[in-house]
């Protein structure tokens, strides 16, 4: 088969799997698990073959136009360059791992068939985004991911948190998607085509009339999808979904779509210096803010969610300095270790019966209960904190190196200001990242107190996957940074000495500061008993997690934080802790700015509908009702009266006909 055929099959197989799974889910439950895992696995294999055949050489392009659609044609097009081939590989790997993991995680879930089908559909949409060579087709995948995310975040729709989170995720991403759509139209109008190759060709010849406007409109969609400030608020709340969903959607793939999109169309953004500076500022605010917020969260998954936002900030930072190689490098390595972090967190939540770090810090022996999760999570956290030689170190250093390169004014791709912004924010975030990674590790695995209850061994499907993902988290960066430039733009991704020493040093500082703070505070833990554990520890992991999420607010007073005096994050952040725990009150600001006005408008509309429009409707009904009452009086029940009326009517009609016929 040709590379094109294989590439078409990659998104098609999970799609067919999803459709079959939805149709057969109830009638043939035995097929659900194979239908979930096998198409995704086949796609992974095919994506690997496509990647090998493509090999970082000239891009594979294929296009067919189904039907003329008016002015600008919409074509079914593929555009597979090194970026697409590698990102598809990561998507396939993570999706396969998540599907395998889900078979164990949602073992007893009654809604598993629809869940697995939606995950397959989501995977297919992400493949479509990655391979598509036409912006409209890309948008289709983009929006399908949005709706799948809505359904999957709301998987535990019995809990109000999940319902609210799914609606929030949908609305916030849509808020970005509307400008995104307008931006795509503007771009296609300027470039005369939706094809990525033609758009890039038009950009190269300076064919864009409004580069800044287009870039800013597109950035809104990217910010929504990739959870960048100010549209990032949906991501921490989306942790109300099952953990595998968080791993797949909110760590490795969907949020990566925005970054990937900018990487594909980077020349469009580079055409506008203003857009690059906006991108840099967005990345910097996102990185630093999310780092602080992650340090204050109590829910282990919310820590990881804020960390995802921060790492995506690194990627957009790399894009802001015009180095898409570094951005996609970090995307790939982050996809591996963040998926691992989430999946390990799922195992930990299952074993501990709680998602609260405060409660975990009062349990001893958690790491002996789940040794696989402990070791793999340690690897992933080291990768997250960018400690050499883990893969996160190389990818993050390539970002910092690119920023440093730009800040010294060596390139015309991006303004030096963007370089400085990204570099400073990146170094600051390196400290914060190491700090919250250390805090998470210490609180989860070095707890002191009562022995962790023993819930038996974790399912094999859940632990094997962790080790599969631990391999790229450990070794991908070190082995790949020399060969990856052949796949990308050819720019060097090797870490430079200055940023490596600086970045690693800052990371060590962050880790050590948290460690000393933890030693200082851990004595207080025994004096402040805290903790609530799920009621059904024997249930499958999905049930335990749903209960943990549902009990967090009643047990600790807030979904994000816990009043734990033994938390090293609370000591370090000081008065800032209160604000960081709520994400710097951005939700409250949005409530004031958008939610309240909309609700006021809605109640006004309700008033107008009930009191004004309905009055007219009721008034219109009154007259016929009166008429009806009058006519009803004629119904005497006496047949002879009716017949008399009939006769009178007949006579009148006959007379009338006669008069007309005779012309009188």
């Amino acid at each position: 088969m040709t590379t094109t055929t294989l590439a078409v099959l990659v998104p098609l197989l999970p799609f067919l799997g999803a459709v079959t799974g939805l149709l057969l889910g109830r009638t043939a439950p035995g097929f659900v698990r194979p239908l979930a895992v096998l198409p995704t696995l086949a796609s992974l294999v095919l994506a690997a073959i496509v990647a090998v055949r493509q090999g970082g050489d000239a891009a594979v392009d294929a296009a067919t136009e189904l039907t003329p659609t008016g002015s600008v044609p919409v074509e079914l097009a593929l555009h597979i360059d090194g970026f697409a081939a590698l990102v598809a590989l990561v998507v396939g790997l993570v999706a396969t791992c998540v599907q395998v993991y889900s078979t164990g995680y949602l073992r007893d879930d009654p809604r598993y068939p629809s869940y697995a089908a939606l995950v397959s559909l989501f995977t297919s949409a992400m493949f479509l985004v990655v391979y598509s060579g036409d912006l409209m087709v890309l948008l289709v995948g983009w929006e399908v991911m949005g709706i799948c995310s809505y359904f999957l975040v709301g998987h535990y729709w019995e809990t109000p948190e999940a319902r609210a989170a799914s609606i929030k995720a949908f609305l916030v991403t849509k808020l970005g998607d509307v400008p995104f759509l307008i931006g795509l139209f503007a771009l296609a109008t300027d470039a005369g085509s939706f094809r990525i190759t033609k758009v890039l060709g038009a950009v190269a010849h300076g064919g864009l009339d409004h580069p800044t406007l287009i870039a800013l409109l597109l950035l809104a969609g990217v910010a929504g999808k990739s959870a960048q400030f100010p549209l990032h608020t949906w991501l921490p709340d989306a942790m109300a979904g099952p953990t595998p969903v968080s791993a797949l959607i909110h760590a490795a793939t969907m949020v990566a779509a925005g970054v990937y999109f900018v990487a594909r169309l980077l020349p469009v953004f580079e055409a506008s210096q203003a857009a690059m500076v906006v991108l840099a500022v967005m990345a910097a605010v996102t990185m630093a803010g999310s780092g602080l917020a992650a340090l204050a969260q109590d829910d282990i998954k919310r820590v990881l969610a804020y960390s995802t936002i921060g790492q995506l900030g690194y990627m957009t930072g790399a894009l802001a300095v015009g180095d898409r190689g570094a951005a996609v490098f970090h995307l790939v390595s982050h996809g591996a270790f963040k998926a691992l972090l989430f999946l390990a967190a799922g195992v930990i939540i299952h074993a501990a019966g709680t998602n609260s770090l405060a409660a975990m810090s009062r349990m001893s022996g958690l790491r002996d209960r789940v040794p696989d999760a402990f070791w793999t999570m340690t690897v992933a956290l080291l990768a997250l904190a960018a400690i050499p030689p883990f893969s996160g170190f190389f990818s993050k250093e390539s970002v910092l190196g690119a920023a440093e390169h730009v800040s010294t004014g060596h390139t015309e791709h991006a303004p030096a200001a963007a370089g400085w912004i990204v570099l400073v924010a990146g170094l600051l975030t390196a400290v914060l990242t190491a700090a919250y990674a250390t805090r998470l590790w210490l609180l989860a695995f070095r707890g002191r107190g009562a022995e962790t209850p023993d819930h038996g061994r974790q399912p094999l499907t859940m632990t094997v996957v962790l080790w599969v993902l631990a391999v790229p988290s450990l070794a991908l960066g070190g082995f790949a940074y020399r060969s990856l430039p052949d796949w990308f733009d050819g720019r060097d991704l090797a870490p430079t000495l200055a940023t490596s020493v600086l970045g690693t040093g800052l990371a060590l500082v962050g880790g050590l500061v948290v460690h000393s703070a933890w030693r200082h505070t851990t004595a207080r833990a025994a004096r402040a008993p805290l903790g609530a554990v799920a009621a059904h520890p024997g249930g499958d992991a999905g049930l335990v997690e749903a209960e943990a999420i549902a009990t967090h607010t009643p047990a600790y007073g807030d979904v994000a934080s816990a009043p734990d005096p033994a938390d090293p994050g609370r000591l370090l952040l000081g008065p800032l802790h209160r604000h960081a725990a709520t994400g710097f009150h951005l939700d409250a600001v949005y409530t004031t700015l958008f939610v309240r006005p909309v609700q006021t408008g809605a109640s006004l509309v309700r008033f107008l509908d009930r009191e004004v429009v309905d009055t007219y409707v009721r008034g219109a009904g009154t007259l016929p009702r009166w008429l009806g009452t009058a006519v009803r009086r004629a119904q005497t029940g006496n047949v002879q009266t009716y017949v008399s009326a009939l006769l009178a009517g007949t006579v009148v009609l006959v007379v009338a006909v006669l008069l007309v016929a005779t012309g009188a």
Binding site: T636, G637, N638, V639, S644
Partner: protein, 131 residues
């Protein structure tokens, strides 16, 4: 015989029947009046059939055929009608049309058109009406 005689006779019969249908109280008499009207029509049919077939080359005497048809229908109709009247009389003890007003507007809430000395309770009457 001139056509006017049967026509006038038929008109008189029809008007008599019509009066009976509209004015009589007894259901049996109303049915008899209906018969009168039907026979008036029959008379018309036969008379006009004879009058028309006098000038025509050949005729099927459709008027007379239709008359036979009407007589057959009328026999069936009077049979069913009398059966209904009998059944009503057996249930209600009366065949007075003025008292059979179950379909009147507001009948159930205000059975005031029933005589006060009637021994049938409203509930029982309702059951009969639906039976």
């Amino acid at each position: 015989m001139h056509l006017a005689y049967p026509a006038v006779l038929s008109a008189l019969l029809f008007c008599t029947g019509l009066y009976g249908v509209l004015a009589r109280r007894n259901a049996i008499l109303v049915l008899m009046s209906v018969e009168l009207m039907l026979n008036a029509v029959n008379l018309n049919l036969v008379a006009f059939d004879v009058w028309l077939s006098r000038t025509a080359e050949e005729t099927l005497h459709s008027g007379q055929a239709l008359t036979l048809f009407t007589i057959a229908i009328a026999a069936a109709e009077i049979g069913i009608g009398l059966a209904i009247v009998l059944a009503v009389h057996r249930n209600r003890g009366t065949a007075d049309i003025d008292r059979l007003r179950d379909t009147a507007e507001g009948h159930e809430s205000a059975p005031s058109d029933e005589p006060a000395d009637d021994d049938t309770a409203p509930a029982a009457e309702k059951a009969e009406a639906t039976a």
